[in-house]
Each structure stands twice: as C-alpha cells, then as structure tokens.
C-alpha cells in the first residue's frame, strides 16, 4: 500500500496532500497547470525532497530518510523523455535490466517492443528517432523493470489520439498482468478516465475533491474544477 503525506513549499503556495492507495489501485491526479500535480509525483519519485510529511510504499520508507533513488521500487515517466542520447533504442529500453536471463525478462522486453512498435527502431540511435517514438521508448524503458509503483506525468504528449488509445489499452493490459500501483497526471480528463479508476483533483497544492470520475462530473467541488470538466 502507498501511504504518502507530502508537504512542499512552492513559490506561491504550499503543496500539502495525503495520498493513500491500495496495491494495484490506479489514481489520476487532475487539475489546472501549475496546481502542484507534478510536484507530488516528483516527491513520490524522490527527485524532489518534501519539506515535511512521510512516504511509505509497501515495506519501503521513501521519506523521510528514505531509500536512495536507485533502490526505489518505482518507475517515473517525466514530461520530458530524457532518453540516453549516446545509446541505442534497445540499450535505452534495457538500461535498468540487471539480468537478462532472469525469469521471463526476454519475453517481457519482446512484448514491450512489439506492443509499443519499437521493433523496427530497435538498433537505431536514440538521437535519430522522432518525438512520438521517443515517448514510446521512454515508456518501454520505464516498464522494463516491471516496477511495483508507476508514476506517469503527461504520458502521451507528442502521441496522436489513436496511438494514445492503443497505448492506454496496452498499459491497462500490463497493469492487469503486473499489478502495479499507478498514479497518472494529465490535463486531459478523457485520458485519465480511461487510465485510472479514481481521481484526485488538485488545486493550489491541495486535494479539493476525490472520488470516481462520475462523482466528479456530477458535483464538482470548486468552480475551477467545473470549468475544467466543462472544457474537456
């Protein structure tokens, strides 16, 4: 289970949220740009250090005095792909794999490459590929280690609508197979609705409403949320 209380001061407000998720649960963080959603993911991942609070995931204490980045059982897809430019697509995807001979690893990598349409790019340099392809490589690289907690920040930027639907469907299949806990941030509700069963609405660093998408749509807690939902 993920139990997180994150306090982190931003320039104009302080992020102060509590997130509790059961193993395998899928939560969508929704809100206007600059509401603090990415800060929450960044603190969960360990890229940013919260000012106060506590983060525990399964048996691992992530904050305070938590595991170093390389020991965290999570995967984080940031808004930028950050592919390793000096490596091939294959080396990027397999970067985090320590033992290629371990149980089902080869098959899993093959499945990722096939489903994310990377087979034809496999030996290309990461410098040579397009933005949409880079996003898919970043997604594959993140999932290659079969993480227990997946954090997605605007996962489908630079990917067209039909490909996005394919990727969402693939992600849901992999979620069913691996059982990872998922937190996704996106400014498009239609993506979060497909990807996540639950939503938490973030405004100025606070969770102002939590629940199912239908509950949110039926009774938005704030005027800003009503405007965001109406504009989808």
């Amino acid at each position: 289970m993920l139990d997180a209380h994150i306090v982190k001061a931003r320039r104009t407000f302080t992020v102060d949220v509590r997130i509790q998720l059961q193993p395998g649960e899928r939560l969508g963080l929704f809100g206007a740009s600059g509401a603090g959603k990415s800060t929450i993911l960044s603190c969960l991942a360990g890229i940013e250090t919260p000012d106060a609070g506590e983060i525990v995931f399964r048996d691992h204490r992530l904050f305070p005095v938590g595991l170093p980045l390389y020991q965290r059982p999570l995967a984080y897809l940031t808004q930028s792909d950050w592919l390793f430019p000096h490596l091939s697509v294959a080396d990027n995807v397999c970067f985090g794999i320590k033992n290629h001979n371990s149980d089902g690893t080869e098959e899993w990598i093959e499945e990722l490459a096939k489903r994310l349409d990377l087979t034809s790019l496999w030996n290309e340099s990461a410098r040579q590929i397009s933005g949409g392809q880079a996003r898919r490589v970043a997604l594959a690289r993140m999932l290659a280690r079969r993480p227990q907690l997946v954090l997605l920040d605007e996962p489908f930027t630079a990917i067209d609508r039909s490909a996005t639907n394919d990727l969402i469907s693939a992600l849901l299949d992999w979620h069913a197979a691996l059982g990872f806990t998922l937190i996704a941030v996106d400014h498009r509700t239609e993506i979060l609705e497909q990807l996540c069963t639950r939503a938490a609405v973030v405004e100025s660093g606070r969770v102002v409403q939590e629940g199912s998408w239908s509950a949110l749509a039926a009774a938005p807690a704030t005027p800003q949320l009503a405007r965001l939902l109406a504009g989808k």
């Binding site: 991942a45 360990g46 890229i47 170093p68 980045l69 390389y70 020991q71 965290r72 999570l74 995967a75 984080y76 940031t78 930028s80 950050w82 390793f84 430019p85 000096h86 490596l87 970067f95 985090g96 320590k98 340099s125 690289r141 280690r145």
Partner: protein
C-alpha cells in the same frame, strides 16, 4: 578569420629562422634524450594523478550543493591563478625542512627538492586546477535529469557515472586532459625552483640557451613541440569520433 589564423600561427615561422647549425646530443651537457624521457614519463605520471584525484573533485563541483561548492571552486581557482614562479617558491618553502610536513617527508626518506617525486608533485600542482575546472564544465554539461533517470532505473552513483555521465562528457574531459597535459609538460617557472634536477624539456631548453645558445635550443624545441602537441590532438580526435559514432 584567415588573417587571425595566420597571425596565431606566425610564431612557427621562428622554426625556419637561421640560427646556425643545430647542435644535437653530445655537444650539450644533459642530453636531449634524457630531458625528453624525463618530461614524458613524469608528465604521464602527473596526468594520471590529475585524473585520479581531479575527476572525483570535478564531479563533486559539477553537482551544485549550495554555497560550499563556491568555496571549493574558489580554492581550485587560486591554484590556477597563482603565477608559476610564485607557486614554485611557495612549494619549496612549504615542503622545506623547516616545515612540519617537509621535515617529516625528509625523515621518512622522501626528498622535497630536486627529485622525480618533486618534479611530478610540482606538475600536479600546476596542472590539476586546469584539469578540474575544465572537467567540471564538461561534467556539468551533462543534464542532471539523465543521471536521475538512470538512478531511478536502478543504477548506483558510480554506475551512473560510468554509463551516462562519462560517455556524455568524454569530449570535454578529453579537452581537460589535453589542457592539463600541455600545462604540466610545458611547466617551467615552478619546476625550475622545485626540481632543477632531473631536468625536463623546458628546463633543459633554458639550460641549453644559457650554455650554448640558439643552435642548441632548436633541436629540443622541435622535440618539445612534437611531444606537447600531438597527444592532446589525438585525444581530442578520438573523443570526437567516438562521440559522433555513438
């Protein structure tokens, strides 16, 4: 650009200036071959020390940790800004027998002047600051986000350096190495004070100039140029080729 380049290379015209018959080994005390050997062997050693000690420091400085990094960087900068002759004099005084460290080194049998050890130590003192500053810039140019992603993919810090930071910074590190090489090999002001013996090429050129004039200087000068310049070029070319192939 052409005029600037020609002006920049103009000193090489000096090599063709008539100065009389060049004098090779035998006619000059302290042979050319010995000076070349001393310079090359000891400079390689000094550069290895620069790399071993300087790279972790450069890495540390390239990862901002608030105000303390500014203090460390200022300390490195002082070693770069110090005039070589002044550094040489300060080194001989600081490692002299009247100081605690110098006295102790002498007691355990480590000479503190005129020895290969002192030659190498002086070269390290004059070159390591240049290496660190250039290497720091090269390492700082690697996006921190790439290192963080690599960490999140399960790589401990040294592995991140080996697989991400170093390959992406190698061109800049090669430039840092070249700078340190030229600086150490060409050092004269500090070395002549601390390690007149064993004479490396710069000191030997000066001795030849004093004792026998330009004809005795020219052969060693050519060798000096040929040894100082190709290695940085070669390192630079290899790093550039590898970087474009990656």
């Amino acid at each position: 650009m052409l005029v600037f380049t020609l002006a920049l290379l103009y000193p090489l015209v000096g090599l063709g200036t008539p100065v009389g018959s060049w004098q090779w080994d035998g006619s000059i005390p302290g042979s050319t071959a010995s000076a070349v050997r001393t310079s090359l062997l000891l400079t390689v050693l000094a550069i290895l020390i620069d790399i071993l000690l300087g790279t972790p420091v450069a890495w540390y400085l390239s990862h901002p940790r608030g105000r303390d990094a500014v203090v460390w960087e200022a300390a490195v900068l002082i070693s770069v800004l110090m005039p070589p002759l002044a550094l040489g004099i300060l080194l001989s005084l600081a490692f002299g027998p009247q100081n605690l460290l110098g006295g102790w080194l002498l007691r355990i049998g480590v000479p503190t002047s005129n020895s290969p050890t002192v030659f190498v130590a002086t070269q390290v003192y004059v070159s390591i600051g240049y290496y660190i500053l250039a290497a720091r810039a090269a390492l700082a140019a690697v996006p921190r986000d790439l290192e963080r992603v690599a960490s999140l993919l399960g790589s401990p810090p040294f592995e991140v350096f080996r697989r991400i930071t170093f390959p992406l910074a190698k061109l800049g590190l090669a430039a840092a190495l070249s700078l340190a090489w030229v600086r150490a090999l060409g050092e004269f002001g500090a070395v002549i004070v601390t390690a007149y013996y064993p004479a490396g090429m710069p000191v030997q050129i000066w001795v030849n100039l004093q004792d026998a004039g330009m004809p005795a200087v020219m052969p060693l000068l050519v060798v000096f140029l040929l040894t100082a310049m190709p290695l940085p070029w070669l390192i630079h070319l290899i790093a550039q080729r590898r970087s474009s192939n990656a």
